[in-house]
């Protein structure tokens, strides 16, 4: 089986295996180095109006030294030291005030093995990562056993191939778990321990505190662990972050063994990473909207909130907003957007047809007119529009609002529809015309069915713009019951306080229908834009 072509692959495989083993050895070294430095404040004393050397200072200092002696028991776990911080200020009356802070500090560090031995959550995560790594190395070893190093990939038995594939995934997972370990230490210490120690309700903390005691103080702190932990500071070391490139080396060598080459795998990895990041960022505001919509008001503005999701999902927020007229606003918006879309299409289709199929003087002029009509923001035109509506007696009517929205979307509708019509050959229509059908008939019976995607796209565009319109509605509509949803939700951000939960619950109701619509036409959207947009 050893052909000419397999020789380079043998060499490559060998390099990969050596690289992999070296990196694994490096991992063991890194695990034995300190990964985290910890500084616990064992005892702290703040003394106001105390000056260095005076009675109070000596008393406090003696108290601190005594405490330090008591804590010498921890010496075995790290170094105990006393720090002293004096803040002196001259106040407005010319008196010097002073704040002396004494602290007894225990400094220690922990290496990978110690962390893995701990029952704290991040210990578990690191254990997982290392088990995955070891597992991957073992599986890879099995798949390589029996001289398979020389085998070309194509000739490899299926089970060996899948073993290699699995080990790649395991290393990838292990790689991802390293930053998660680092993040989890911060989460555990900052949010779950220190933070909750300072807030009144701290249920379910005992177990965690005991593990932390074992990990940091060898179980010697006992009852006092809370006080000691509340003054904890810590930092990660270079060794922890060095694990990431080392693991990446292992991953790269395994991918080489598995796929034969690295570049395309990395490229598709980068592609997925990009797509995932894109989706996460895009979805993030919606996550915020959802979790805030179902929280209690006090929780939505809680500055010390330690959860990612509501502690209690308040579904009744939905009922509350319906009591405040949100369903009516939704209906208004539906009517408004539907009506505006209809009017925009009814006026836009003939115009686009003429633009696409007919020659006439002033074509360019009309186009300029259409584009110019888009240049003014509705905000800018508020006074003008409202005056006009007043003269037409269309103030405070949804119909008037429909007309304005339709008018402001004419340009886009005409542009898209014209593009669609241009992309469709006129032969069929001409044939229809010869058969005795008039131009209107040709348009309705021949062209429109063929340009369905373009029309759907236009429809959606106009609908969404009208659905999302805000400024004109605020001014034109004065009866609250006629408000569209975008205006209706402003009642939740009143002068007195913003009710985020209601604001976002109704925002959610206003967003979901549009998103669902978008999901249905996503496929048409691109093809509609293709026919409409490309030919410009």
């Amino acid at each position: 089986m050893i052909g000419l072509s397999s020789r380079p692959s043998t060499k490559r495989n060998l390099t990969a295996v050596i690289l992999c083993l070296t990196a694994a050895a490096l991992m063991v070294v890194l695990l034995s180095l300190p990964l985290f430095h910890f500084q616990s404040v064992l005892f702290s004393k703040k003394s106001g109006n105390t000056f260095v050397g005076d009675e109070r200072y000596i008393a406090a200092s003696a108290e601190v030294t005594e405490a330090a002696a008591k804590y010498q028991a921890h010496q075995a776990l790290g170094e105990v030291s006393i720090t002293e911080n004096v803040t002196e200020r001259v106040n407005s009356k010319g008196e010097t005030t002073s704040l002396v802070t004494f602290q007894v500090v225990l400094s220690s560090s922990r290496n990978g093995w110690q962390i893995m031995a701990s029952s704290l959550p991040f210990g578990g995560i690191l254990r997982c990562a290392m088990l995955l790594l070891v597992g991957a190395l073992v599986l890879m070893g099995v798949s390589l056993s029996g001289g398979m190093l020389n085998e070309s990939l194509r000739a490899l038995p299926k089970w060996r191939k899948s073993l290699r594939g699995i080990s790649c995934w395991m290393v990838l997972l292990s790689l991802a778990l390293i930053p998660i370990t680092a993040m989890n230490t911060i989460r555990v210490f900052e949010r779950e321990i220190i933070f909750r120690l300072s807030t009144p309700e701290a249920a379910g903390l005992t177990e965690l505190l005991r593990s932390a005691d074992l990990f940091l103080y060898g179980g010697t702190a006992g009852e006092g662990v809370g006080d000691m932990l509340s003054g904890l500071t810590y930092s990660s070391t270079f060794a922890l972050w060095a694990m990431i490139p080392v693991l990446f080396l292992i991953l790269a060598s395994m991918v080489t063994l598995c796929k034969g080459e690295l570049k395309s795998t990395l490229a598709s990895g980068a592609l997925y990473l990009f797509v995932i990041a894109l989706c996460v960022i895009t979805l993030y505001p919606y996550y915020v909207m959802v979790i805030t919509a179902f929280r209690e008001n006090s929780e939505a503005t809680d500055m010390y909130f330690t959860h990612m999701f509501p502690t209690k999902w308040i579904w009744s927020n939905l009922a509350d907003i319906t009591k405040r007229g949100v369903l009516g606003y939704l209906m208004n918006s539906l009517l408004l957007a539907g009506g505006a879309t209809l009017i925009a299409l009814v006026c836009g289709i003939p115009a686009a047809y003429a633009m696409a199929r007919m020659r006439f003087a002033g074509k360019k002029g009309f186009l300029g007119f259409v584009i110019m009509s888009q240049m003014f923001a509705p905000v800018v035109l508020l006074v003008g529009i409202s005056r006009l509506m007043n003269t037409l007696h269309l103030n405070d009517s949804l119909f008037g609002l429909m007309m304005v929205n339709a008018a402001f979307n004419q340009a886009f509708a005409i542009w898209l529809l014209r593009g669609t019509f241009v992309s469709i050959s006129s032969e069929m229509e001409q044939a229809a015309c010869i058969d005795g059908c008039n131009t209107v008939g040709a348009l309705i019976h021949v062209l429109l069915p063929m340009s369905a995607p373009g029309i759907v796209t236009t429809l959606i565009f106009v609908f969404i713009n009208a659905w999302n319109e805000y400024t004109i509605s605020t001014v034109l509509i004065s009866t609250p019951a006629k408000n569209p949803i975008t205006v209706g939700i402003t009642q939740f951000s009143s002068f007195n306080m913003i009710e985020w939960q209601y604001l976002f619950a109704s925002s959610l109701l206003a967003t979901i229908p549009v998103i669902i619509m978008f999901l249905f036409i996503e496929k048409h959207l691109v093809s509609g834009l293709t026919s409409g947009g490309v030919k410009g």
């Binding site: 680092a182 911060i186 989460r187 555990v188 949010r191 797509v275 989706c279 895009t282 979805l283 505001p285 919606y286 909207m289 809680d302 500055m303 990612m308 009814v346 006026c347 003939p350 115009a351 003429a354 199929r357 007919m358 020659r359 006439f360 009309f366 259409v370 888009q374 240049m375 003014f376 923001a377 509705p378 905000v379 800018v380 035109l381 003008g384 008018a407 402001f408 542009w415 241009v422 006129s426 015309c433 131009t439 040709a442 969404i464 999302n468 975008t486 985020w500 976002f504 967003t511 549009v514 978008f518 996503e522 959207l525 691109v526 834009l529 293709t530 947009g533 490309v534 030919k535 410009g536």
Partner: protein
């Protein structure tokens, strides 16, 4: 040509009539009213007075904030349109490739487009609050940061956030315009380029970009107009504070008209904005469409 025969000379105009009537009544009339107002005296309460020539214009331009606001508008339009076009283009290139979950990814990318700007702006306003904002909460809970970060430490940073949100909501539109352009490219062009030994960058420069250009032109022109006129993001997040340093022309003139009670200069500013837009969009279209036979 793709034209059909027209029996009467006036027929095309008949087809255009509904559209023209609609736009004349509901767009052109208000514009005319605004032009008229910009040369009239308007009282604090909103009463329209007599013709006063260009005084509204000189008042508007003479305001010390005018320069700041124009610079902000420039930054705002250039950064939002420029970066969203670039990022939208990259996103479209990626979403045009075949991969598992492409349909889902495409559906998700379109979300910001489907959400009202008022709502997006409120959500982001909540997210970047220092004290109880969700960004701090999430980053703290994930353990990415140790202490809450003041994401709004200065007005420059707040303005950057506003631009960022503007980019965020504009990307989907660009993406889908470019995707449409990409899908219409015949695969044969790429095959030919591959045969010629062209790499990724060469294909991008000589095949993709020229063929996507029409879509890009349209999306850019429309974006310039929309972004220039965009109002809710800045109004919700900073209202132009401090001292108009985060205002763009549109939010500034809104505050001027309805908060500072200076409607005369505000209408003058809207006319100025209109003229600027006409020039910019016109020049852009002339440059990019010179070679095209029609539009």
């Amino acid at each position: 040509m793709n034209n059909i025969l027209v029996r009467h000379k006036w027929e095309p105009y008949l087809w255009l009539l509904p559209s023209i009537v609609l736009m004349t009544v509901f767009v052109v009339f208000p514009i005319a009213i605004v032009f008229q107002l910009s040369f009239s005296e308007i009282s604090r309460s909103g009463l329209v007075g007599s013709f006063i020539g260009f005084r509204n214009f000189s008042d508007a331009i003479g305001d010390p904030s005018f320069g700041t606001v124009m610079m902000n508008t420039l930054y705002w339009v250039v950064s939002v349109v420029g970066l969203s076009t670039l990022l939208g283009f990259i996103t479209a290139m990626v979403l045009n490739k075949k991969f598992v979950g492409r349909k889902i990814a495409r559906s998700i990318v379109v979300f910001p487009w489907a959400t009202s700007l008022v709502i997006q702006a409120s959500v982001w306003n909540y997210i970047i609050k220092y004290e109880y904002g969700n960004l701090n909460n999430v980053l703290l809970n994930l353990g990415i940061i140790k202490d809450a970060v003041n994401w709004r430490a200065s007005y420059q940073i707040e303005f950057m956030w506003e631009c960022g949100i503007g980019i965020f909501v504009t990307i989907p539109f660009v993406t889908f315009c470019v995707l449409a352009g990409l899908q219409s490219i015949d695969a044969a062009y790429y095959e030919a380029a591959t045969v010629d030994g062209a790499g990724f960058w060469k294909k991008l420069r000589h095949v993709t970009i020229p063929l996507v250009k029409p879509s890009l032109t349209v999306s850019t022109v429309l974006n310039i107009i929309y972004v220039f006129n965009s109002f809710p993001i800045i109004y919700t997040i900073t209202k132009g504070a401090p001292a108009n340093k985060t205002d763009t022309l549109v939010t500034y003139l809104y505050m001027l008209a309805f908060y500072d009670q200076k409607k005369g200069p505000a209408t003058a500013l809207s006319v100025i904005g209109f003229v600027i837009l006409c020039i910019v969009a016109g020049v852009y279209m002339m440059i990019t469409m010179r070679k095209e036979d029609e539009l």
